[in-house]
């Protein structure tokens, strides 16, 4: 029965108002709308508010377009699969991450602010593409390869359904860019699998304990086909976002470089690429403990949600996290906050599989702040950086030279 809740009436009114704005209101509908407007002072006020252009524009701007729901869907979709695999297990509410899904982005990722104001008298300098790249540069997409217990390598296909059975009986399925493990039939000792994401790739895996891990480009995760001991231990290189299933008896441990992150059930991001000299652990929900092998006797460092533990020069320091920035990659964005061009180009290199060159090294000191959608073409991203009139780029095949803009 639809008509039992006031929500239905309000939805009908909303439909009429939207029709009114689109000029599609029939006469009898106009009468119904008018009756509603005159029914109360509150209705009238709301009507007037909706007819205020500035307010309406702000509301439409606050509404992300359909294309930007991708990141949110990526969070929902593994749970749909989980639902299919375990239809009768009570639904566990995931409290996920996602700082900002582009909602505050409004329209098209324009790059906003720079450390210095651009010289407004200078002509606009745009990214110059000197000759068309013989090999097109495309944004990353779902791709990965899986190294099974026996060393066999399987290329994971984004769209296709794939299934294998591991040596210990674990069933591994790959569907819609999510790899998942089912332990139901496992009997023998667990074996280790490695999921490798190339440059220009990203992938998700649901581990045998139902924890979900998002892997960024140029990253890999080594994990057992099931967690049989008193802890759940995995090994990371690169960047990943973890949503760990609660299990107080079996702590979950992520090892990367000389650091280990121990949790019992929480959500956090770990970033530690070989070409960066730090490991950042950003906590979104729950609690984590950081330990470093550089100083095994030291007390573990506890993180609170919204904080980031930085391992650098063999030390761990804690600072307030910028969740929007730390989780941007997972939400389909590049978010730069006073970030040096070198670090920006490393991110772009991993995602677009390109190489950055710096003929004039003084350019590396320039920092940028802004937000760009990561599924845009690299030309568009470079163009936005160039709009700041601080840098320009030339593209030669897969090599991108970062140059000072002429007016500098």
């Amino acid at each position: 029965m639809i008509h039992m809740d006031p929500v239905n009436e309000h939805l009908e009114i909303a439909d009429l108002i939207a029709k009114h704005f689109r000029g599609q209101l029939a006469a009898h509908e106009a009468a119904a709308l008018e009756a509603w407007i005159n029914a109360s002072a509150e209705n009238k006020r709301l009507w007037e508010q909706l007819n205020d252009d500035t307010t309406l524009r702000e509301q439409i701007l606050a509404m992300p377009d359909a294309g930007s729901t991708g990141a949110a869907w990526n969070r929902l979709q593994p749970k749909l699969i989980a639902e299919r695999h375990r239809p009768h297990i009570g639904y566990r509410i995931f409290l996920y991450a996602a700082a900002i899904t582009g909602m505050l982005l409004g329209v098209w990722g324009l790059i906003y602010l720079m450390l210095h104001r651009p010289d407004t008298t200078a002509p606009a300098v745009i990214a110059k593409v000197e000759k068309p790249a013989p090999q097109p540069i495309i944004p990353g997409s779902s791709k990965a390869r899986l190294i099974l217990g026996d060393g066999k390598v399987v290329a994971l296909k984004d769209k296709a359904e794939q299934a294998f059975t591991e040596e210990d009986g674990t069933r591994v399925t790959n569907s819609d860019a999510v790899l998942s493990y089912s332990v139901a039939d496992a009997t023998n000792a667990p074996v280790f699998n490695t999921l490798e994401i190339p440059r220009g790739g990203e992938y998700r895996v649901m581990l045998p304990d139902s924890s979900v891990v998002w892997l960024n480009a140029a990253s890999s995760l080594r994990f057992p086909t099931r967690f049989s001991g008193d802890k759940r231990e995995v090994y990371l290189s690169g960047e990943a976002y973890f949503e760990i299933a609660k299990n107080k008896q079996k702590p979950f441990i992520v090892s990367i470089n000389n650091i280990s992150v121990t949790v019992t059930g929480t959500q956090f991001n770990v970033k530690g690429y070989p070409d960066e000299n730090y490991v950042n652990t950003t906590l979104v929900e729950g609690g984590v403990e950081l330990r470093t092998a550089d100083n095994p006797a030291a007390k573990p460092v506890q993180l609170r949600p919204g904080y980031q533990g930085v391992w650098e020069n063999k030390k761990i320091t804690v600072k307030e996290a910028y969740l929007e920035e730390a989780l941007a990659w997972k939400n389909g964005l590049f978010v730069f906050r006073s970030e040096p061009i070198g670090s920006i180009m490393r991110k772009l290199s991993r995602w677009y599989d390109v190489e950055a060159k710096y003929p004039d090294t003084s350019v590396t000191a320039i920092r940028f702040t802004g937000t760009i959608r990561k599924y845009e073409s690299i030309q568009k991203v470079l163009e936005m950086l160039a709009l700041t009139q601080k840098v320009k780029f030339t593209i030669d095949d897969k090599n991108i030279s970062v140059l000072k803009a002429n007016n500098q």
């Binding site: 439909d15 252009d53 524009r57 749970k79 749909l80 991450a97 606009a124 969740l323 929007e324």
Partner: protein, 187 residues
């Protein structure tokens, strides 16, 4: 997908059908929940949960109107429960911008969400070039020459795209007086 196909697809458990509904309704439901909770992440969680419930009960829905009501009712229910049991809401200052609103009632917020959501949807259906020009011109209030230099196209192209957009949006943009703003760039 047409509405009947969409409903049939959902009942059969097709993810593509759910995805289409998600793309259409997730933004406005989030807007609705954010208005009640004043918290972005919680609002998204609530809406994700509503979609999980929809998925679980997918057999029951025979029309788009019924499932849309279900999503709003489910989101409202969860939001009000959260508010009831919430003692301290932990706001992380970074990254999350709680919306500053003067507490509109749930009903008002629902109507705002649906109206803005449907208009946003109409914008999204425009061809890409045209959509971009209308967005920058109408929503961002940019002038024709500003849009032209941002997109590296001529002012004439902008004018053509605007005219096309207005035609495709039929009544909407013509209904609102802000149209004048659109015309500010010597249209």
């Amino acid at each position: 997908m047409k509405e009947t196909d969409l409903i049939a697809g959902l009942q059969k458990g097709e993810e593509a059908a759910l995805r289409q509904l998600f793309e259409q309704l997730y933004p406005r439901l989030c807007y609705f929940a954010r208005g009640i909770l004043q918290h972005d992440i919680e609002a998204e969680d609530v809406v994700q949960e509503a979609f999980m419930k929809l998925w679980r009960h997918r057999q029951q829905f025979n029309s788009f109107a019924a499932l849309r009501s279900f999503l709003y009712i489910s989101a409202r229910h969860t939001c009000l429960n959260i508010l009831k049991h919430q003692r301290v809401v932990h706001h992380h200052e970074s990254g999350i911008q709680a919306e500053e609103a003067d507490e509109p009632t749930v009903a008002q917020r629902l109507i705002q969400a649906e109206v803005a959501g449907q208009l946003r949807e109409a914008l999204d259906k425009l061809p890409p070039g045209c959509k971009q020009v209308i967005e920058l011109g109408y929503l961002e209030g940019m002038r024709n020459n500003e849009i032209a230099s941002l997109l590296h196209v001529s002012v004439n192209t902008i004018k053509t795209q605007k005219a096309r957009g207005l035609y495709l949006l039929k009544g909407w943009l013509r209904t609102i007086s802000i149209l004048l703003l659109l015309l500010n760039g010597s249209f």
